[in-house]
């Protein structure tokens, strides 16, 4: 499978699509030395053109969804999306609010869902690990 090429160095780009920051600080914490993601080859990519995995947090609002689609198009294939937190999965406490699309998978195809409000950093890393396992690592 072509996707195997990323399994030793999956670079992660994080996009906040209308989150409360809770998931964002946990994703940020997951990418720092206490949890040491670099043992899995995971590194924070500053640019969608360098990224392999997009971590989406937050209940998507309409303006951010457009931006997310654009970032997804800018990311080179093979590319994967992790929806992180209750809001990106179902809208969380913000479900049915007027500006929201509420689900990341309505904007881009999602490969892994990490539940939690917010998910612990361990859970975020576990989500990435599951994705890598799925790729035949």
């Amino acid at each position: 499978m072509e996707a195997k090429v990323i399994r030793y160095s999956p670079w992660v780009m994080h996009f906040n699509a209308g989150a409360c920051n809770g998931c964002d600080i946990e994703v940020l914490a997951a990418l720092t030395p206490f949890f040491d993601p670099e043992r899995l080859g995971v590194k924070l990519a500053p640019n969608p053109r360098h990224a392999d995995i997009i971590v989406v947090t937050g209940a998507l609002n309409k303006k951010a969804a457009e931006r997310l689609r654009r970032l997804y198009d800018q990311t080179p294939s093979p590319k994967f999306v992790i929806a992180c937190g209750a809001c990106a999965i179902s809208g969380g406490v913000f479900t049915d609010s007027y500006p929201l699309i509420s689900r990341a998978d309505k904007a881009v195809p999602v490969d892994v869902y990490v539940p939690g409000c917010p998910p612990r950093p361990e859970a975020v890393l576990y989500g990435i690990k599951r994705l890598l396992d799925k790729l035949g690592g």
Partner: protein
């Protein structure tokens, strides 16, 4: 030379939050900055109206993940007045402990981000490592790392036992030691001092005119802190020193935060040592509030946070208006970027400790008429500044 427009964000490695700064530059010099928001609008005030008072506690906390406990505190202390319940002293102390732990981790976080922006990646990693200690302490008190959700009407949801109390006191020693070290780094490191001082200066009169709040205001030498002016929770019983600086530049704002974090360690320690006995967890949570309206304010890590709650009786609020500190700090400070170099823009922006998820509730941004609403948003910011 022609002006060049450079968009920073909404997806940017340094900011982690969706906001867009449109920077117009002449060569390296910044001539105009416009802030473009709306990527994080979630309609929170509307869903607060649609849900009950009790559910509102969880929604208020999710305005912002970094300063969630202060949001819940502001909401809960306002609703408690409408419901006519009073939290017991022990609950007030536990609330104070959670809020101060949150202030410590918030201030470490923004200092770490600042270190990263100035190109000091090692310091960022070290600070994030030590921030985990504070997150662990928060988890010991509340059971959650980020969303504390410990407040309830008339008390807290979870009491603090002796084992965890002494554990927190031990761990605080290490946190304090590290904070003192980071303060020394920010004070003495040549690169950081050169990079931050004289950058993004706001004079005292200007700070008042722009109506900035929190460390941004105190960094400009204005003595304003809700914890002193209008004590809430247990602040009236806990001694601590106000932190002010006169320089008014980015460096002063960062130093105010680090000093405040050290003060917060003292507050947590004092509160833990003098934790009153008695109940903290209420037996029953009231569901309905009397008609009336209440104005409630607390000092969030980023400044003064205001909730205006209107009740017409019953189990749902009629209106909840939230005024967050970042709303003023981000939108009113566009002018402070002017005349600086392009490389200083992220530094100035980070020195306001921007919290985008706090800012974006009231602004209706419709994708189709985005341009027009955006203009009125800027006018709104102007009105707020006069």
């Amino acid at each position: 030379m022609a002006l060049v427009e450079i968009p920073i964000g909404p997806q940017h490695p340094a900011l982690h939050e969706p906001i867009m700064l449109k920077v117009r530059t002449d060569g390296e010099d910044v001539v105009e900055v416009t802030v473009n928001t709306g990527y994080n609008h979630r309609g929170i005030e509307k869903i607060l109206e649609k849900n009950s008072w009790v559910r509102g506690m969880y929604i208020a906390g999710r305005v912002c993940g970094i300063c969630n406990a202060v949001h819940v505190q502001t909401y809960v202390q306002g609703v408690e007045k409408l419901m006519g319940v009073e939290p017991p002293p022990r609950a007030n102390y536990i609330r104070t402990i959670v809020m101060e732990l949150e202030r410590i981790h918030s201030h470490i976080l923004i200092s770490a981000v600042m270190a990263e922006i100035t190109g000091f990646a090692t310091l960022f990693m070290l600070m994030m490592r030590d921030r985990e200690r504070v997150m662990y302490l928060k988890e010991l008190v509340t059971g959650n790392r980020v969303h504390a959700d410990i407040h309830t009407f008339g008390g807290v949801k979870r009491d603090l036992d002796e084992v965890r109390r002494s554990r927190i006191l031990d761990e605080l020693e290490k946190v304090e030691e590290r904070l003192k070290y980071y303060k020394r780094v920010f004070e003495t490191d040549y690169t950081i001092v050169r990079r931050l001082s004289e950058v993004g200066r706001i004079r005292k009169s200007e700070a008042l005119r722009l109506s900035v709040v929190g460390p941004t205001l105190r960094g400009s030498g204005v003595k304003s802190d809700v914890r002193f002016e209008d004590p809430y929770a247990a602040y009236s019983e806990i001694p601590f020193n106000p932190v002010y600086r006169d320089e008014g530049d980015s460096w002063a704002r960062m130093m105010v935060r680090l000093d405040e974090a050290l003060e917060s360690v003292g507050i947590v320690r004092h509160a833990l040592e003098r934790l009153p006995q008695g109940p903290a967890v209420p037996k029953a949570v009231p569901r309905a509030a009397k008609p009336g309206e209440v104005f409630s304010r607390v000092e969030a890590p980023r400044g003064e946070l205001i909730y205006h709650i209107v009740s017409t009786g019953g189990t749902n609020p009629y209106r909840v208006k939230i005024r967050t500190p970042s709303f003023l700090n981000i939108l009113n400070t566009e002018s402070t970027y002017l005349g600086h170099r392009l490389a200083d823009v992220p530094v100035i922006f980070a020195s306001y400790d921007p919290c985008v998820s706090c800012t974006e509730r009231v602004l209706v941004v419709d994708e189709r008429s985005g341009r027009r609403t955006y203009m009125s948003l800027r006018e709104l910011a102007r009105v707020g500044s006069k």
